[in-house]
């Protein structure tokens, strides 16, 4: 019995190894969200592998990606966080709004930064309240505004009926408040259509859409829900060009199952798509050809792979900034936080990395942890099998969003007894 206990203790306790930069990847390669979790995790890991292989790490210190399977489940996410934080984790990117909500107070108490890129709690943009949480370059409320702006650019919006098909969780509920404000401002009617986890069954929701005939459908979906929704939309012959997904509902894995019928489906994005960048040559040479690609290695260049890579690139750039600021090559999580807060992405920087014009330019500051919220609309071309940007990076309605961010972050500050400071 005692021996067993000791053996378990030895197995369960993880031994801390320092001397490298640890980037935990709370990924999910299993479960109903795996179709979207795999490309992101592959992209995240491959970028760090590339840095290690080509440049010998970041500032001479090798990066180590600690992968931990969460299955998009918050309890496993917490377990992963606890298991990896002792190894000197620099930044957490949980790729789950639910897990982000769990980690916001925990990571802040532990002094580890969290980068919820394009997800998580939107009001974390206000860095005065959320000192350790970053959500640059864009957030859900920007996304909601981009979608509405795009509809407005195609015609008059007042009097139109717009449906929001959303994952019935913290994630899917995030844009509702912004859309309500926008509907007041622009005079459209908002119709809410929740889909419960995991979203494999959406017949009744799409029947409702078929009956009520909204002019546009917005979608906040993830995992298997996306594929099902696009298939159902095709089944009721909903015009795809009026169907706009958030950036998490815009990967190849979401549209491919519907085949030709998905042609014309639109999705938002905050970074560029495709693999037509010099960096991909290096990736091929140092990672893929060397047999070091993460996962099955078949996701390179897909929308979510690019996003995972972009997330890793921003983390690596923040780590470089932190190294410059602190003068140490082996940075601590606190220094990483400062690096993230001082991060500035310029076109010259991205071009030097081999990703010219890949994402918007932005600058993080203590007051603004959310970047400038630029986003673009991509459209799926089923015949060519590729996403094409149909707009440039455009600004969101900051009048509406700024006020909501202030309101929500003030509520959080009051609730958890934080004095906003910068």
């Amino acid at each position: 019995m005692r021996l067993l206990a000791m053996a378990t203790a030895a197995v369960m306790a993880a031994s801390p190894v320092m001397a490298d930069l640890v980037f935990p990847s709370l990924s999910y390669r299993t479960g109903p969200y795996a179709a979207n979790g795999i490309p992101f995790a592959d992209g995240y890991e491959d970028y760090f592998t590339l840095l290690n292989e080509r440049d010998g790490g970041i500032g001479g210190v090798p990066a180590r990606v600690l992968e931990c399977e969460t299955g998009y489940n918050t309890e496993k996410g917490v377990e992963c966080y606890e298991a990896t934080k002792g190894e000197g984790a620099l930044v957490y990117q949980p790729l789950s709004t639910g897990i982000t909500y769990q980690l916001i107070p925990k990571a802040t108490a532990d002094g580890i930064p969290v980068h919820s890129m394009g997800y998580g709690r939107t009001s974390a943009k206000n860095g005065a309240v959320f000192s350790n949480i970053f959500n640059y370059p864009a957030n859900y409320w920007d996304g909601a505004s981009h979608a509405i702006n795009h509809i407005m650019s195609l015609g008059d919006i007042s009097g139109k009926k717009i449906a929001l098909v959303y994952h019935n969780s913290a994630y899917g509920k995030e844009p509702i408040r912004t859309l309500e404000e926008l509907s007041k401002k622009h005079g459209f009617e908002l119709m809410l259509v929740p889909v419960d986890h995991p979203g494999q069954e959406q017949k009744s929701q799409w029947l409702q859409i078929r009956q009520q005939r909204p002019d546009n459908v917005l979608m906040w979906g993830w995992g298997v829900m996306n594929q099902v929704a696009i298939q159902e939309a095709a089944n009721i012959r909903y015009p795809m060009e009026n169907f706009i997904g958030i950036w998490w509902s815009g990967s190849e894995n979401d549209v491919l199952p519907a085949g030709e019928k998905a042609n014309g489906y639109k999705a938002l994005t905050f970074h560029n798509l495709g693999k037509d960048y010099p960096l991909f040559d290096d990736l091929q040479k140092y990672v893929v050809d060397a047999g070091k690609a993460a996962g099955a290695g078949d996701q390179i260049g897909t929308a979510l792979y690019n996003r995972g890579m972009y997330a890793a690139m921003l983390a690596a750039e923040a780590a470089k900034t932190a190294q410059e600021l602190s003068g140490n090559a082996e940075i601590t999580p606190a220094e990483m936080r400062d690096g993230m807060e001082a991060l500035e992405m310029t076109e010259a920087k991205m071009a030097a990395l081999g990703l010219p014009n890949f994402g918007p330019e932005f600058k993080v500051s203590c007051e603004n942890h959310g970047g400038n919220g630029l986003g673009a609309v991509a459209q799926w071309d089923a015949a060519a099998g590729s996403w094409n940007l149909i707009t440039g990076y455009e600004a969101s309605d900051q009048d509406v969003i700024g006020a909501l961010v202030d309101e929500d972050s003030a509520a959080f500050a009051a609730e958890s007894g934080i004095t906003p400071s910068c």
Binding site: T8, V11, M12, A13, A14, S27, R29, T30, A34, I38, E67, C68, E69, G71, N73, T74, E75, V78, E79, E82, A83, K85, G86, T97, G98, Y101, Q102, I104, P105, K106, T108, A109, D110, R121, N168, S169, A170, K173, E174, I176, R177, P194, D196, H197, G295, D408, E415, S416, G417
Partner: protein, 358 residues
């Protein structure tokens, strides 16, 4: 040799009717309590608390609750997840409405609220049995989850529909929120689990427990010998609801800190607790503990062995973990349908005779 009644003489009635009449059992129980209360709090760290002990203790309370209903009274319930959600939302509303009241009051009150709700959903059990009752509790599961998602009052109108537990203290020690020390989290759960287990053990040994078991074994016969089925069934739902509510309250406030009803208290949670009860052993308090330990610790252990030691890819390990857990469940159900508690009972019988089995 170690485990036997010989030489254990009871000279008073309380001695004769104590929980652990055999000396070895009693000492083992004291040792476990001593280790749990006096050793573990001093050596526990964040990882052990959050990944191992706290979920184990909380699930043990939930399993005890379900075991009373399913194992002792024979009423199948598939609504445990939603009943835990009732506890969680009750404690959330209490914590935010009365910030100055101690959590030691809020958590039992949340348990009482859950008991009332569960009793309400137990009413159909007076008319329907078996599979039909399971379906009725399944309806409770979906209805309650829908309700907590639909009515913003339950989550204090927060934008995301999430509930998050603010910082609260017991005797000046922080037990909820991000700044909680590992030992404080562990201790609050341990205190509740100990009290719940003692209450449950004594209830099931007394008149009430005997009535439940009579109903479970044959309700018509029980009614003929004078057991009131309505009272017996509803008390089982009530007591079960109380424990499940406490488990839900602790699960949200101490363990998770932030929760979302569909994800944290979905149907999978109901099945998870039901598996704990079945694997641990129906109708056994000890079984609830080993069932909870099995279902909580096995995935963590497998993950650490496969990924941490062997360095396998995480997806392979996660899939393998499903296969191994599922396989073990099937093996246990075939080899030992009465659960792990039965193994322990058999071991005890063997130990009584050892080393002279004939």
């Amino acid at each position: 040799m170690f485990y036997r009644e010989a030489g254990d003489f009871s000279t008073t009635y309380p001695q004769d009717s104590q929980t652990f009449p055999i000396r070895f059992d009693r000492y083992r129980y004291y040792v476990v309590l001593a280790v749990a209360f006096l050793v573990i709090p001093f050596i526990i760290n964040d990882y052990w608390a959050n990944a191992v002990f706290v979920p184990f203790l909380i699930y043990a309370i939930a399993a005890i609750g379900l075991n009373i209903l399913t194992g002792y009274c024979g009423q199948v319930s598939l609504g445990t997840g939603a009943f835990m959600a009732v506890g969680a939302y009750a404690v959330y509303k209490l914590m935010t409405a009365f910030p100055d009241v101690s959590m030691l009051i809020h958590i039992p009150v949340a348990g009482l609220i859950t008991a009332a709700v569960v009793t309400l959903f137990g009413l159909p059990s007076l008319r329907i049995k078996g599979f039909y009752l399971a379906v009725a509790t399944l309806a409770a599961q979906f209805f309650l989850v829908w309700l907590f998602n639909k009515v913003p009052w339950f989550y204090n109108y927060s934008a995301s529909g999430q509930i998050s537990s603010p910082e609260r203290t017991v005797f000046g020690i922080i037990i909820t929120g991000p700044n909680t020390e590992a030992w404080a989290k562990y201790m609050i759960c341990l205190v509740f689990v100990t009290i719940c287990a003692i209450i449950a053990r004594n209830l099931t040994r007394g008149a009430m427990g005997r009535k439940w078991m009579a109903i479970r074994d044959m309700d018509i016969a029980a009614e003929i010998i004078g057991v009131n089925p309505m009272k017996a069934k509803l008390t089982a739902f009530m007591v079960s609801g109380f424990f499940v509510g406490i488990a839900g309250a602790l699960f949200f406030s101490v363990y998770l800190g932030a929760a979302e009803v569909g994800e944290s208290f979905g149907i999978d949670k109901s099945f998870l607790v039901l598996f704990m009860v079945i694997i641990g052993g129906l109708g056994s308090i000890f079984g609830s503990f080993i069932g909870a330990a099995f279902m909580v610790l096995l995935p963590v252990l497998l993950k650490n062995v496969l990924v941490g030691w062997l360095g396998w890819p995480t997806d392979l390990a996660a899939h393998l973990q499903f296969i191994i857990s599922g396989g073990l469940i099937i093996v246990f159900l075939i080899m030992e349908p009465h659960g792990l508690a039965q193994l322990w009972r058999v071991t005890k019988e063997k130990l009584r005779l050892w080393p002279f089995p004939h």
